[in-house]
Amino acid sequence: MTAPVDHAAVGLSATEALRVRVQRGDGVADYVVPRRANQTVLDVVTEIQRDQDPTLAYRFACRVGMCGSCGMTVNGRPRWTCRTRVAAVAPDGVLTLEPLRNLPVVKDLAVDMEPFFEKWRRAHGYFEPGENPPDDFATVAPSSPARQEVDAGIECINCGVCYAACDLVTWNPDYLGPAALNRAWTLVNDVRDRDRDRLVAVAGDAGCHSCHSHMSCTEHCPKGLSPTFSIAGLKRETGKAALRRFWRRG
């Protein structure tokens, strides 16, 4: 599923030229780009880089909303730029582009995603098949509650938009972040997974219990996912695990 995209066309009253302000290493650079039909923000950046300023650095790959590499801050909001139409976000003809928040900038609009993926590893965001492979395929009913929970969070494309939108990551740089916790939640609900330490990994000081439910991740996710509710699920499971441990000890 994808969040609804505004397919706004260029209005009749739209200006012919688009003013683009780009946050670069040495300050804010101003560019003027002609408006075109169905122009996306990524089209604008590519046009600047190819026709006006080859030193401008940015990142993209698929251009169709699959790879998650073109995330930028567009007019103060983190977005995937390949699926964001200029007409929908810059009605007054001004576009301000900045790198994603909460991540170190490599150059201009390209950020270093290493901290983002390092937190995936810290949250055990990878499938753990266990010591011995199972004898047969696991039977997972699509209608089972666990599978439904997985379905709700599985379409993440690792674009980092939720990570950039999260206030908690800004306040606590160690916080695992919405994407890593969302991935951990899908694996907690995977009946084939054999990782017994995942709940411990996500329950620490910088884990799921740090989430304040601001819901910025859910608001901004271009895929329409709800990391807030995945994190709420982790809070429930870690809470139940703690109660079980307490019960056994008592």
Partner: protein
């Protein structure tokens, strides 16, 4: 074409994310909690005066019969109501799997809190 490079500095990056309804709910929840925590010691001081006799308590309560304290009292009732409403919202999201995706619930919590405040005023307290 590139026309100018202005001085380095922030250009209002991602401040919009701070203005989401969820952020407002979390902020108001915490501020109302702080207000209640500040009130609690004063409440205990007032109760403590009763230990020194009814006259002492009465004279202390006499100090509270002014407009400022009455207004603060109304604010306190609102803070209590809003703290409870937003607390129930968090519990609903975290324990009841309530999937709230819009500002309606946050607005509802605020409206409920002020309705309680209004009832307090109408009750002639």
């Amino acid at each position: 074409m590139r026309t100018a490079t202005s001085t380095a500095g922030r250009t209002g990056i991602t401040r919009a994310s701070l203005r989401r309804p969820g952020f407002a709910a979390a902020l108001i929840h915490r501020l109302s909690g702080i207000a209640l925590a500040l009130f609690l010691p004063m409440h205990f001081i007032a109760l403590g005066t009763a230990l020194q006799g009814a006259d002492r308590l009465e004279s202390f309560l006499g100090l509270t019969h002014n407009g400022f304290v009455r207004t603060a009292e109304w604010g306190l009732v609102c803070a209590l109501a809003v703290h409870m409403a937003f607390g129930l919202r968090v519990l609903a999201i975290e324990w009841l799997r309530f999937r709230e995706r819009n500002a309606l619930v946050v607005s509802g919590c605020l409206a409920t809190a002020f309705a309680v405040g209004l009832l307090f005023l109408l009750s002639g307290a």
